[in-house]
Amino acid sequence: MEQVLQVLISGILSGGIYALASVGLALIFGVVGLVNFAHGEYLMLAMYIAYWIYNFSGLDPYQSLIINLAVMAVIGYITFKVIMERVLDSDHSIQMLLTLALSMVLQNLALMFWKADYRNIRIDMTNDTMNLGFLTFNTPRVLAFLIAIGASVLLYLYLQKTFTGAAMRAISQNGKAAQLMGINIKRTYGLAFVIGTTLVGLAGLLISPIYPAYPTVGASFSTLAFIVVVLGGLSSVPGAIFGGLVIGVVESLAGYFAGPAYQQAAYFLLFILVLVFKPNGLFGRS
Amino acid sequence: MILQVESVTKKFGGLSAVSEVSLEIEQGNVIGLIGPNGAGKTTLFNCINGTLPITDGKIIFDGVDITRKKSHEIAKLGIARSYQIVQPFGNMTTLQNAMVGGFCKTKIYKEAESIALRSLELVRLDHKKDLIAKHLNLGERKKLEIAKALSTQPKLLLLDEVMAGLTPSEVQEMVKIIHSINDSGVTLIIIEHIMEAIMSLSKRIVVLNFGKKIMEGTPEEVSSNQQVIEAYFGVEDGEAYA
């Protein structure tokens, strides 16, 4: 029993990070209507940036958080300006493909610049644990979870409570109409893209003390984020948060009861089951 | 009796968009369907052709109970409809659009093509047959809606506001087209807010309001009915609109 509880909690902790990695994707999808296959690559970039800063200045990822996020925002903005902005009106398949190509470019750029080496950040805290009764928590994972959930909730509030948020939700449904409402489409798209990449960057940064950076590290997160986002109903931010937690828990339980080999299969299976019974995701509006 | 709608009800949550509506049409007839906005006209079409499952009631077409049939089966049986908000296949040419309908009753390419061409001619859109549909303007798209539906070679055609957005003289052209469709033996139910058109086309008119059928009669009867005038036509400068 204690074990199961422990497994559950470790699942929830990972789930928080999955949620954060996914809300950005949900936002970009919701606003730009774009399935961003390069999403994970931004996570990878943020991890490398964290590593760099750590290596050159000794600032750990938490201390360099602001700089790192600023850099991520700039990178997001540049990709948007140079590439995404030009295909806003294009077919979805074109946009999707473009992000695939982009992920190819970013991965290979990383490979060229940083070689294929694994870049670890070991800070004092990496293996710290906190105990609560019989339960054990790894401190960086707890921190990551708290920050991740906090950031996701902030995003949710922003979308719900501000008018820009409302514009973001409207824009994907009818771009022309949105323009006629006085919404600056490009700026809003750009904002969503930048927020999205910054958030997934934050996720990368938070896991950098516990997980090494390497050029293809983003790929596995990309697929995972898609699953999370679809589970949550595509453009729903609370859906993505919930979806992230669900996947984290399912992965953990499957790992414990069936074996780690089945972790991925388990959440894919869950995903298919959900789609069979709720074709619009758990939080999707039909 | 080609179509019998027996006490059909359609609910969306608590709202009864159509409630206990019954109507019957004879082969070759033209019936007009009018009523205020949101009265349930389009919903009734959706129920008849199987786009929406009905909550209650029964629909019999040509002796076959089609209440629970899917829309593609119903199309095969011979009911076609046009959309109020046009739904062209934007990236196909006009002819290809119509050919999708043309394949309803045949598998042979040439046949489907000639059926489609004939319906395009009928709605006078054949000169634009190779244009990509998304480049058509609204009036042409409305015609395309009809041509697509006609290509399925229906016995019963449901037209939903095909004349909205046309100038009066274009309306007259469309009226002629519809007449010629009817002359070729197709039974029609027409939803329209343009009174000149509907009055001159339909033998009988059914009026819906709040999902209920409030009356049925000849155009004259309907246009002089006080209830209909108040709910639907309105009064302009002291005189009835119609």
Binding site: S10, Y118, P215, G255, Y256, P260, A261 | -
Partner: protein, 401 residues
Amino acid sequence: GGGSGNGGDSETADPFKVGAIYPLSGANALLGSQCLAAVKIAIDIVNANGGVQGRQVQLVEADAPDPTAATTEAGRLVDQQGVQVIFGSLASGNALAIAGVTEKSGVTLVESGGIADALTDSGFKNVFRILDKGGLRGAAGVSYTAEYVAPMLNIAPKDLKVAIIHEESSYGTSVADGAEKKIKELGLNLVAREHYNSTITDMSALVLKLKEAKPDVLFTVNYINDAILLVDTLKQYDAMPKVLMGCGAGTTDPNFAGTIGADSDGIFCTDMPTNLPLDVFADEAMKNVVSEFRERFRKEFPDMNNVSVAAEAAFAGSYTFLNNILPNAKTLDAEGIREAALTTKLDMTTLGFGWDLGDDGQNYAASANINQWQGGKVVTVYPDKLKNGEVINVPLPIAGQ
């Protein structure tokens, strides 16, 4: 390849072309590029000493992230570039795909990475493997455990609870299969066997599951980052078994101890002999070669405090072949090379074991050492011939209850 340049002036003779195929992009790019660098160094050294049969060795590189690419690239090297020998290829899958091409064209493949049994069990005539088969590596750790570790723990081998955790690619699987077979053979008590994808980001569930099984010894096959993650997670949940017996790749990687620090003291890493102290080599020339290789490799990869196992193997494979085998070949074609490879016997290669190929092309002199991390260095504790330190920390001080 043309005829042998018998007696020809080394300045004017055609260069002897060899190829190297490693994954230089994609998920395995890290080790792939290290292997390539090692092969380059080997060729440089050989060329400085006059080349092969008086001909300078010329390298053609190729990048093969997966077997399909390996097929195409092998074709390029063989048919377009006309190489006679290919060094490769890190992943067993790639090796098998390359063998499919080279075999048809009578080109030699010298494999120093792929350890799948199939490579030398499939009747290829011109495929030679310097390393052990994967099964051997797994088995060596188990045998050693039964014979030496169990007494240190005061547990009879048949009561010894052991578990296997391995990454699920062909590498991890074949090593683990070898280990499992040996465990059954020796009658140890196997309480769990689990595999995972090496991109796993959280091992909590795995470790908690393992904790329930309470193994005394954990055999594990990993790549580097999952190896680190495993040790970290075991520690966090206070689930470290008494003995952690790593079986290659991840646990032997120089970055392993570099990253986890002092906690690595006492963790075993069964692998082929690696980073052997120079005095193992009796031959003065070989000492020089090995130290030159290590020096140049470190210059190329300054971040690494030790040469990686894969690179050592790639170096050993290519250097031995160019320096010891090819000079014995009557003709530098498949026939001649095969004969030389099979008839040449060496007591010692730069890997510390000898060269003695069976008809299947497998080097039966290859062995696996039992190594242990001690003070951030890999120390060989078995076999006695190569040993350069005594076992420490059994059971591990960081072992859980």
